[in-house]
C-alpha cells in the first residue's frame, strides 16, 4: 500500500498556484448529486469474473433503466439477462470495455471515483445517442472534462459493512476560469482490514487529475489521468453442506490461518492507469466534433493456491466433507438400521461433522500444513507440492474516437463517428510464493506420470526445459493476444411533429491474433509464435419509430447486428496453443421491442416488451477437472439464444411529497439449441484431444459432431423475475426511500461438461430412433424420444440418433437448478443542510436487506463431475453465492 499513499501525496501536492481567480460555475445540478449511492463500488462483487453481473446503465429518460441498476443490485441483476459485454461503458466518447473479454471492469477503470465519474449520460439501445452506436444493453458515457465539474471542494467520509468499511474522498474543481483553464482533482481511499465476508480485505487508492483549456468559443483541449491501485482479498462460493457446517451463508473457504493470522489465497492486485485527451471543436452552433484519444495500461493479477501431485488444499474439497463418507441422499443407507449395522460409517460422518463444526480453523485453508509438506519435501529434493501462483492479465490499450454531431435542419440531427481500438493483452503466470519450498521446475506435473520425466511432452517451455523457478519468475504459460478494431457508425433522427424516426447503422472490422512466447511440449508445433490473424467484418442497423400522444409516447424498434466473437472465446486452449476454435464466425442477433411511456398528472411510467434472438454465439468455459487433473477448456459454437420479457416502471404521486414507485420485469432467457462443442485438456497430447472430441453414437460408426445439450437451459445468476414497490418521501430537505423487492427465477450455471454428447461423466445416453419398448404390464409403448426425455428428467442429458447414420436428431438437457425466490427490504434516509457561505452538508444512510434475509442465492454453478456410486453426490452439491446480509452505507459529505 505504500505505492498508493505515495501516489496520493503526489496528487495533493499539485500546484495550487494555477488555481487563480476561480470562476465558480455549477454546470451540474442533478437532484441527488450529494447522495452517494456508490452503486458501482459498494455493491458489486469486484471479482473480474463477476464484472458481468451488474447493470449500471442509468438512462434519465427511461424510468425503468434509471432505477433497476440501483434497486436490484443486491441480487446482481443483469439487464434483460444480458452479459456485461453487451453494455457499453464510455468515457469522453471512448469505449472502455475490454476488447478481449468484452466486459467493463468497474473496479479497475473507475473504482472509487464516484464523484469524478458523476457526470454520466446513460441511454438505452434505441434512444438518441450522441456519442456511440449503442450495444444491445445500452450505453453510458462519463464526461470527465475538467470544465464540466462544479467548482469547489467536496470532501466525504463513509462507513459501511460491505467489501470495504471506510472510505474517504476529496474532489476539487476550479470550474472554468476566466483564463480559459479548468482543473480538477479527485482522490479516494477505500479500506477494510476485513470486509463483510470473513477473510476478505480491501485497499484501494483512486485518483483522477484533469485539466482543460478553452482556447476560444470553438476549441478546447482537455487532458485527464486517473487510476485506482487496488489490492483486495476475495471470497469463493461453497456448497450448501459447507455453508451449513460453517453455520453461515457467508462462509469463505478462500482463507486460512497461518501462524494465527488470516491469509487469503485469492488476492487481486490491479492498477490500470489511463491517460485521455479530448479535443472539442464547435464547428458552428449546430455542429460539434469531439475527438478523444486514450491509452490505458491495465495491470491485473490474481493469486491462486496451486498444488502439484498433492492433495487438494481447498477446505471445501469434497473428500473433506461428511457427505463424502456415504450417500446421505439414499434412504437405503441413511437410516437408523443400516447405520446401526455399520457404526464405522456413522462414526466417520460424525467425526468429520465434529471437525468442521468444532473449530473455525478446521474449515479454512491449512497454511501451516502446506508449509510442513513443502519443508518435508525439501529434504527429498522434490519440487514444491503447494505454492501460490499469480495469474497476470495485463493490457496495453490504445483508443481513438471521433464523433461529429450536427443538424441537417430544424427537424433532423445526425451523429457520425469512428472508433479505433488496438489492444495487446499479455497473459502469463508467475510464482508468487513457494510456501517454504526450495525448488520448483517448470514442467507440467500432471503430464509427468503419463509421459515420463524425460519426455518433452511435459515441458511448458521446451526452449528452457526443466527451468528452475524462483519467486517472481514466469512459468507455465506466457502469451499475448492482439485485438484491433475499427468501427464506423452513423445515426440520423427526424422529427415530424409528434412523430420521430431514428435510425442508425454501423460497420466494424476486427482482427485478432495470438502470439505464444513459450513452446509447450504438448503442442510443440503450434504453441510458440503467431497464430495468424483472424479477421471479421460485422455491422448492423437499428430503427425506432416513436409517436408522441399528448404527454405520452409510443414506440416500436428493431435492430439486427453481426459482431465478431470475443478473443477470449476464440482459441482452443489459449494458455498453451495457437489454434482457433473450429467454425469460428461472427455472432449475430436481431431484436424487436415496443413500449409506451406516459406522464398523466400524478401517474407516470413506462411499460415495454422485447424479444431478442442470438445466433452463432461462441462461448468458452474453463475449469479444473479434478478427476483427470487437467485444466479443461470447453468451447461451444453455433449457440442460439432467446431473450424475451416485459418490463414496467410506474410512479404515482400520492401527495405533494409522497410518491409510490413500482418496478418490475418478467422475462425468459435461455439457450434454444444444442451447440457444437470442442474440448481440450491442457495436459493433453493430440491423440488425447482427438479421443475426447470423438462422438460415435453407433459403436464403431461414423464420428458425429460433438454437441452440448443446452436446449432450454436458462441464463444463470440473475433474477428473471424481479419486482419492487417503494415509497419516496421528502420534506424540509429530508429524503426517505423504502423499497420492498421480490426476486425469483434465479438459475445456477449448468455444467456444459456433463451435458457433452459423449460424456460418460454425465451419464449421457443415446437412444436409436427405431427403438420401441412395449410394457406388457401397462400396455404402453415407449419410443426413443420418450426415453430420452425421461432420462433428462432424471438428471442426465440424453439424445435420439438416427439408427443408420448416427446423426443426432434431438437432444434433451436436464433443467438447471432454480433458486428459491424471496423478498428484500431496502431503505434510505438523507438530508441536505445548507450552511453559511454556500457550504452544504449532506448525510445519507442506506440500509439494504433490512430484514436480514440470508437465504437469497444470487447464483452459482453445478459441479463438473459425475456422482460417485456410493458416497459423494456432485449433482446434489452445486456451489452457490448469496446476497449480502443486512448492510448499511453511511455517507457524510461537505461541499465548500
Amino acid at each position: 500500500m505504500r505505492k498508493g499513499v505515495t501516489l496520493m501525496a503526489a496528487a495533493l501536492c499539485l500546484s495550487t498556484g494555477a488555481f487563480a481567480q476561480v470562476v465558480k460555475t455549477d454546470t451540474i445540478s442533478a437532484e441527488n448529486e450529494d447522495f452517494d449511492f456508490s452503486l458501482t463500488e459498494g455493491q458489486i462483487d469486484e471479482d473480474a469474473e463477476a464484472a458481468s453481473t451488474i447493470t449500471t446503465i442509468s438512462s434519465s429518460k427511461d424510468p425503468y433503466l434509471s432505477e433497476i441498476g440501483f434497486q436490484w443490485s443486491a441480487m446482481r441483476f443483469k439487464y434483460r439477462a444480458l452479459d456485461n459485454a453487451y453494455v457499453g461503458n464510455y468515457i469522453n466518447g471512448i469505449k472502455f470495455n475490454n476488447a478481449e473479454s468484452g466486459r467493463f471492469s468497474f473496479s479497475g477503470i473507475t473504482g472509487g471515483l464516484n464523484d469524478a465519474t458523476r457526470n454520466k449520460t446513460g441511454v438505452g439501445n434505441y434512444e438518441q445517442n450522441k456519442f456511440s452506436y449503442s450495444p444491445l444493453g445500452g450505453v453510458t458515457d462519463i464526461d470527465i472534462r475538467a470544465s464540466h465539474y462544479a467548482a469547489g471542494n467536496k470532501i466525504g467520509l463513509a462507513g459501511t459493512n460491505r467489501n470495504y468499511v471506510l472510505r474517504a474522498n476529496y474532489t476539487y474543481a476550479t470550474g472554468l476560469m476566466e483564463n480559459g483553464w479548468a482543473f480538477m482533482g479527485s482522490v479516494a481511499y477505500r479500506w477494510a482490514h476485513q470486509g463483510v465476508i470473513e477473510g476478505t480485505f480491501y485497499n484501494s487508492f483512486s485518483f483522477m487529475l484533469g485539466a482543460e483549456k478553452q482556447f476560444n468559443d470553438k476549441h478546447s483541449l482537455s487532458f485527464n489521468v486517473w487510476g485506482a491501485p487496488t489490492e483486495r482479498g476475495q471470497q469463493v462460493a461453497a456448497t450448501e453442506e459447507a455453508y451449513a457446517l460453517a453455520g453461515s451463508h457467508y462462509y469463505n473457504a478462500a482463507w486460512g490461518y497461518q501462524n494465527g493470522k488470516k491469509r487469503n489465497s485469492r488476492v487481486v492486485t490491479e492498477f490500470s492507469p489511463s491517460f485521455l485527451t479530448t479535443w472539442d471543436w464547435k464547428i458552428n452552433e449546430d455542429t460539434k466534433l469531439a475527438t478523444s484519444a486514450a491509452v490505458t495500461f491495465m495491470n491485473y493479477a490474481s493469486t491462486r493456491l496451486a498444488y502439484n501431485n498433492a492433495y487438494n488444499p481447498m477446505p471445501t474439497y469434497y473428500k473433506n466433507l461428511p457427505s463424502s463418507i456415504f450417500n446421505v441422499y439414499d434412504e437405503n443407507f441413511n437410516n437408523a438400521d443400516w447405520l446401526g449395522d455399520n457404526p464405522g460409517v456413522l462414526s466417520q460422518w460424525q467425526n468429520l461433522y465434529g471437525y468442521w463444526t468444532g473449530d473455525k480453523a478446521h474449515r479454512q485453508i491449512q497454511w501451516d500444513q502446506l508449509y510442513a509438506v513443502n519443508e518435508a519435501n525439501n529434504a527429498t529434493g522434490g519440487d514444491a507440492r503447494y505454492y501460490v501462483e499469480k495469474r497476470h492479465n495485463n493490457q496495453t490499450v490504445f483508443n481513438l474516437s471521433s464523433i461529429l454531431n450536427g443538424k441537417i435542419n430544424k427537424r433532423s440531427t445526425y451523429t457520425l463517428g469512428v472508433n479505433v481500438n488496438s489492444t495487446k493483452g499479455m497473459h502469463y503466470n508467475t510464482m508468487d510464493d513457494l510456501l517454504g519450498a526450495t525448488t520448483f521446475h517448470d514442467y507440467d506435473n500432471y503430464s509427468l506420470n503419463k509421459y515420463g520425466s524425460t519426455s518433452s511432452y511435459i515441458q511448458n517451455d521446451m526452449d528452457n526445459p526443466n527451468r528452475l523457478i524462483k519467486e517472481g519468475d514466469k512459468f507455465g504459460y506466457d502469451y499475448n493476444i492482439y485485438v484491433n478494431k475499427v468501427k464506423g457508425f452513423g445515426q440520423n433522427q427526424w422529427q415530424f411533429g409528434d412523430f420521430t424516426i431514428n435510425y442508425s447503422a454501423d460497420i466494424e472490422g476486427t482482427w485478432m491474433e495470438r502470439e505464444g512466447l513459450m513452446r509447450n511440449g504438448r503442442c510443440m508445433n503450434y504453441s510458440k509464435g503467431k497464430s495468424g490473424v483472424a479477421s471479421f467484418l460485422g455491422g448492423g442497423g437499428k430503427l425506432m419509430l416513436e409517436q408522441k400522444i399528448a404527454t405520452s409516447r409510443l414506440y416500436v424498434a428493431g435492430s439486427i447486428e453481426s459482431q465478431a466473437p470475443l478473443a477470449y472465446n476464440s482459441f482452443v486452449a489459449p494458455r498453451i496453443q495457437n489454434n482457433y476454435v473450429n467454425d469460428l464466425k461472427n455472432e449475430w442477433f436481431w431484436n424487436v421491442e415496443a413500449g409506451y411511456q406516459w406522464y398523466f398528472g400524478p401517474v407516470s411510467g413506462k411499460v415495454s416488451g422485447y424479444y431478442t434472438k442470438f445466433n452463432d454465439v461462441t462461448q468458452q468455459t474453463t475449469f479444473y477437472n479434478d478427476d483427470f487433473s487437467y485444466l479443461t477448456y470447453l468451447t461451444m459454437t453455433g449457440i442460439k439464444q432467446e431473450y424475451k420479457g416485459l418490463e414496467a416502471a410506474i410512479s404515482v404521486k400520492l401527495a405533494r411529497n409522497l410518491k409510490l414507485n413500482l418496478l418490475g420485469t418478467i422475462s425468459d432467457a435461455k439457450y434454444t439449441n444444442n451447440p457444437n462443442a470442442q474440448l481440450s485438456y491442457e495436459g493433453s497430447d493430440p491423440e488425447l484431444v482427438n479421443m475426447i472430441n470423438a462422438f460415435t453414437p453407433i459403436k464403431d460408426g461414423t464420428n458425429q459432431p460433438l454437441l452440448v445439450f443446452m436446449k432450454n437451459v436458462k441464463m444463470d445468476s440473475t433474477p428473471l423475475t424481479a419486482a419492487s414497490v417503494g415509497l419516496s418521501y421528502n420534506i424540509n430537505g429530508w429524503y426517505f426511500d423504502a423499497n420492498l423487492n421480490y426476486y425469483d427465477r434465479v438459475y445456477i450455471s449448468a455444467s456444459r461438461y456433463l451435458r457433452l454428447s459423449n460424456s460418460t461423466e454425465g451419464g449421457v445416453q443415446g437412444f436409436a430412433n427405431n427403438i420401441l419398448e412395449y410394457n406388457v404390464n401397462t400396455g404402453t409403448t415407449t419410443n426413443a424420444w420418450a426415453k430420452a426425455k425421461a432420462s433428462a428428467a432424471e438428471g442426465h442429458a440424453a439424445y435420439v440418433y438416427d439408427s443408420e447414420t448416427g446423426e443426432v436428431l434431438d437432444g434433451y438437457s436436464p433443467e438447471s437448478e432454480k433458486c428459491k425466490g424471496g423478498f428484500m427490504l431496502d431503505a434510505s434516509i438523507g438530508k441536505s443542510i445548507n450552511l453559511r457561505d454556500g457550504k452544504r452538508l449532506s448525510i445519507n444512510l442506506q440500509v439494504q436487506n433490512i430484514t436480514n434475509n440470508t437465504d437469497m442465492r444470487t447464483g452459482g454453478y453445478e459441479q463438473n463431475r459425475k456422482d460417485r456410486t456410493y458416497d459423494y453426490k456432485f449433482s446434489k452439491n452445486s456451489y452457490y453465492y448469496y446476497a449480502n446480509a443486512i448492510n448499511a452505507f453511511l455517507n457524510v459529505s461537505l461541499k465548500f
Partner: protein, 288 residues
Amino acid sequence: MKKVFLALFAGTLTLASCMNDWDTEMVDNDLYSAENIGEPTTTLSKLRKDYASVIEGQSYTLVNKDEIVEGIVVANDISGNIYQSIFIQGVAEDGTLDTSEGGFGVSIKGIGCLYAIYPVGQKVRINLKDLYVGSYGKSPRIGMPYINTNGAMRLGPMTFPMMQSHIQKIGKPNVNMVQAREITADDLSANNIDKITPMLVVMKNVTISDAGWPYAHWEAGGDVYSEYHDITIGGVKKSQLLYTSTSSTFAGDTIKPGKKTIYGLLNRYSSSYQLSLRSIDDIIELGE
C-alpha cells in the same frame, strides 16, 4: 467543520493496511500428531494373531478398547504409487526393525502427502480404540470401513481428524533403522505370503520385463489404473509381480534393461504377491 473533515480524511490515510510478508512468518511444523497416546499395550505381531480371522476373511472388526501398538514407517505415498496409506513394521526386542514378519498398512484419507508427516523411519504409536482392524485383499490393515464401487463394505482409510487423535509420532524419524529384508525367488512362495507381507524388501540382481515400456502405460481414455510387470530373480521369473499405479510420478518413466537392485513394499492382493516401488529411487541400476 471543514477542518474536522480534513482531519478525519487525513486520519483515514493512516489506516493503510500493512500487507504481511508471509515468508517471514514462523510456521509451526509440529503438526498433526496425537499426544499422550501412552505406552504400547500390544505388538503388531500379536495384532496379526489376534485378528487373524478377519484378516484372512478380508473383513474387519471394531477395536472397542484401548489397544496401543507401535511401529516404524517403512513405506508411504511419496510418489503416489502407494495411495492413502503408510506401512509400518514392528520393533524387535533389540530395538531394531522387525523383519521377521510383515507389518500393517494404515490407511488415512483427507490429507495427502502422508510422507511429509510420516517419513520413512518415523516411529508411530496408534491407539486402535474406535478404529477397525482387518485386511484389504488379505493384507493386514488398520482403517475404517467404506462402501466400494461395487456396493460392498471394505476396510478403507480413516479420516484425517481420526489420524490426528489416534496416531502419535514418537521422536524424530531414523532412516538408518529401516532395513529391508532380502527376498529371493524361493521366498515368494504360497506358504510365506501370510508371513512376509506387507514388508519392506530388497531383491538383488533382478531384471524387470518389458524394458523400454513405461512402468504404467497410460492410455488416452483408458480405464487402466495400474500395470504389472514380471520380475526375474536369480533366473526365476515371477509373473506380474511389480505393481505400478498410473498415478505415480514415475509411471511414465521407461523401464531400463539390465540388472538392478530393487527395494519396495512387498504386499499382497489375496493370494498374489505385489511389489510396489515407493519411488523411482527404489530402483538401483547395476548397468549389467
